[in-house]
Symmetry: C2
Subunit: 273 residues, 2 copies
């Protein structure tokens, strides 16, 4: 059975998270249903990790073992078109690739990168309202940048984890933690780490918001990291500001170039025109 | 009666154009209804110009004569908040300003700038699908840039006007006509002119698309400009790629700074926190 990796985008507004849950729309269930329609067999789709209800992804990675069809070569490019024809418009398979059986979307992932987007202006934006967290009060961007920089390195993130969740290790190594100031009041907080604990990026985003509002100091981040106490971090920022940007795998898999313009477009003959 | 200018954003997906039409949602009708709710009188809202059904705006300008309330000073900032509270989330009043009675959103406009956005990649994007025209076939960006540059200057745009429309002058002076290549297959065509004829930007976008696909040459643009024949230009590109970006007025009105981050944010006291 050939193992196929997917590069997946989704808009979280009408999606109740990534992982299968009875009775609601999830990325996993939608992908499994589309695969079943196309491949005429039940399949299990594995994703790199869970995202919460309302969270977006521009670079989620999944894999599936596709049933043997007897055909010599699977035309992955046509399969992506067919699957997108089945999926609703808020989930898109951007690329597909054949991988060997050692690949696993979750267990082979070496790091993940998220972006949390803020809009700091008075009135709502009709274009950014579903992907940016609107903050009406003035934010001190330099203080937020200072706070963000203190997350770099290997720390215990127990203070930045929602309580009552799974017992994975709270120790994460953060390789990027950076707040960018774009034009028109837009801010982007970028964070990359080997792994993340539950709600970590949204709790960090809520903490940075409080720093920007002057409700706490940048060095309160270090205090929270040291003390392992959820009450020392800020509130959980809303899900619609968060996007899973990319997932990394060992080089030998050569998985997915990031620039979609490098991907194969439709070929046409003069007769198509 | 104080005259108020509005800076307006709207997302065109669920809007049947800017100008009042019986029985459908239009920007003008929504704004007039909101003004009536807040000001308790019928008011006429004037916009800088019409946009078609499905077209977006990030910098539409309008004005209204607000009924005298007897109050000494109108608090425009609170009024914008109140109006946005009444309007649905796909229309937003970004800024308001008091103007003198010589101002008129339509007749005082000196130029308008539009952006038409393309996405040139194989599979649809869940984030850009409502604001970008997806072209699956490879586009020759240099040829499109060449074609765009030939629109600069003063020309008769009869070939780039939908037939059966109003008899305004087809002579337009184009001061910017530029195709930008952004990352990830995104292209933006920017055009500014003193005025535009009906469907002009969408017909130019359709013509540039044909140039990008190799169906016509860049110099066919010049031929179309010279001959005044609609059949010599390309098809009308879809409305959702088009955004009215800004409208310019004489300097003496000091109308609206473009950077929203310069606009007044909410002020808060320690008690708000």
């Amino acid at each position: 059975m050939p193992r196929l990796a997917f590069l997946i985008e989704y808009h979280g507004k009408k999606i109740s998270g990534s992982q299968f849950q009875l009775g609601v729309r999830t990325v996993q269930a939608e992908l499994e249903a589309a695969c079943k329609t196309l491949g005429r067999k039940e399949m299990r789709v594995h994703l790199s990790g869970r995202t919460d209800a309302g969270v977006h992804a521009s670079g989620q990675v999944g894999h599936v073992d596709w049933p043997d069809t007897g055909e010599k070569d699977l035309d992955l490019w046509r399969m992506a078109w067919a699957l997108n024809g089945i999926l609703k418009s808020d989930i898109s398979i951007v690329d597909m690739q054949l991988v060997d059986e050692t690949f696993h979307a979750r267990y082979r992932a070496t790091s993940r990168e998220y972006v949390y987007r803020f809009l700091n202006r008075a009135q709502r934006s009709v274009f950014l309202k579903d992907t940016h967290y609107l903050v009406h009060y003035p934010l001190d961007v330099e203080a937020m940048q200072d706070g963000a920089s203190r997350l770099l390195g290997r720390h215990d993130f127990s203070s930045f984890r929602s309580t009552g969740t799974s017992q994975s290790s709270p120790i994460c190594t953060v390789t990027r933690s950076e707040l960018l100031q774009l034009g028109d009041g837009r801010l982007e907080f970028w964070i990359a780490a080997d792994h993340f604990v539950y709600n970590m990026v949204r709790i960090i985003a809520g903490t940075l918001t409080e720093i920007g509002l002057g409700k706490r100091t940048p060095d309160s981040v270090e205090n929270a990291l040291e003390k392992s106490d959820r009450d020392l971090a800020g509130p959980t920022a809303p899900p619609w500001g968060l996007t899973l940007y990319s997932v990394s795998y060992p080089q030998n898999y050569n998985l997915f170039e990031r620039d979609p313009s490098q991907r194969r477009l439709k070929e046409f003959s003069r007769e198509d025109l």
